[in-house]
Symmetry: C2
Subunit: 243 residues, 2 copies
């Protein structure tokens, strides 16, 4: 690579990150500030993904993890009875693929549910970077632990709640996460995934989801128009979900 090309690459990185919605809270720009040129090889920034694009597939070796910068990624796997189960939705700022670290194989597919953008991080080089910089290593540890904790929390509030509350809770959580990444969100937000995926995430049939959505709209706790939604009465919604 000529020095002119290297220079160009470094410029690209700066440019690409400057336009990124995440750049204020982005761990890449925070944790690797001075070494932008050195990170060109580790991080491939802001790949555009049309909906339906596979980021990786089940049972393939872990080569990269991904930081979502826009849109939404779902991870899915099979249940014991052969149905699809959506493991989680990853929004801006979330790290996709860390569930593969323990055995080096991705346990699930990762698929964009809407027009999305990710930064790809070479895992091997990230690990060697962690070996050199302990604070980066503990940051990755905290990320993985955070992922585990999120799974635990999901399971705890899913348990025992009826479908009605689970659905409402999903929308409250989604709204919180969307506003966290994009503070100038209006009163309505766009649903970045299909209802089928939500049903598979909440572990209920599409029929049950549909019925409960209708009920929530009737009760004035939720508004749904095509692919946009709003939560007119957040406080009442939270009391219903018992938080």
């Amino acid at each position: 690579m000529s020095s002119a090309t290297a220079q160009l690459a470094a410029m690209d990185v700066v440019d690409v990150c400057a336009n990124c919605k995440q750049n204020r809270d982005c761990f890449l720009s925070q944790r690797m500030p001075a070494e932008t040129s050195g990170c060109v090889g580790i991080v491939q920034r802001r790949q555009a993904l049309p909906p339906g694009t596979y980021l990786f597939r089940r049972n393939t070796p872990l080569r990269s993890i991904y930081l979502v910068s826009a849109g939404s990624i779902k991870t899915q796997r099979d249940t014991a009875d052969g149905e699809l189960l959506v493991n989680g939705f990853y929004l801006g700022g979330d790290l996709v693929g860390i569930d593969a670290i323990s055995d080096g194989l991705h346990p699930c597919d990762a698929i964009a549910t809407t027009d999305s953008e990710v930064c790809r991080i070479d895992f091997t080089r990230l690990m060697s970077e962690c070996a050199r910089r302990p604070e980066l290593g503990s940051w990755v540890m905290a990320q993985i632990s955070h992922y585990a904790k999120r799974r635990d929390d999901d399971l705890a509030w899913t348990a025992g709640l009826h479908a009605h509350s689970r659905v409402l809770r999903f929308f409250l959580d989604l709204h919180d996460r969307l506003t966290a990444q994009n503070d100038d969100l209006g009163d309505t937000a766009q649903l970045p995934m299909r209802k089928q995926d939500i049903a598979r995430y909440l572990q209920m049939t599409p029929e049950t989801l549909s019925r409960n959505l209708a009920a929530l709209c009737r009760d004035g706790l939720l508004e749904l128009h095509s692919d946009r939604f709003a939560l007119p009465d957040r406080s009442r919604a939270r009391s219903v979900t018992q938080i």
Copy 2:
């Protein structure tokens, strides 16, 4: 500490580990082989815990993680509707407390469900040791990721299965884990926790668990006498749980 006392401590560690059932696969003796004397301060080995003993409580700061060397530890928290939920059972070789790493607070109680034994690992010192030794750091990372993966797997096979299959699957899994840590297990094994805890783990009422246990015994898939159990027909059991 006088050199005589240090010598004694080192002797104690060796002695205590030599008698441990885990010592062949123990990560402490494997990963910290040459530095036994240096590890005396980090690891407090083989504390005995009578049933009901709290290892730590919810919302307390993370000071130590624990490696189970005998018995069984349950972790529990509250569901959204205020009921108890058993998060998991930790048997010999399992690491308890890693779900607290992300925010430094234990999200759940950890309680011995039977006579147990743990090695206590000072978390701060473990982290600084990880900073010095990257391969230890990546080992801890893999442990956390493994924990996350196990949670994912739990959720995936819990999803969609009826109580009947979930119960059977629990006993298959339990038997596998018990034999893994103690290869000379007879044809029956001891249940290291109460049925109430199993019900709270499998997210069903004690009544449902009891009914399904009775059904499994009637079908010849499970044998239960007081606190011992056996799986007479593993292959049929596996086919029923669709593995």
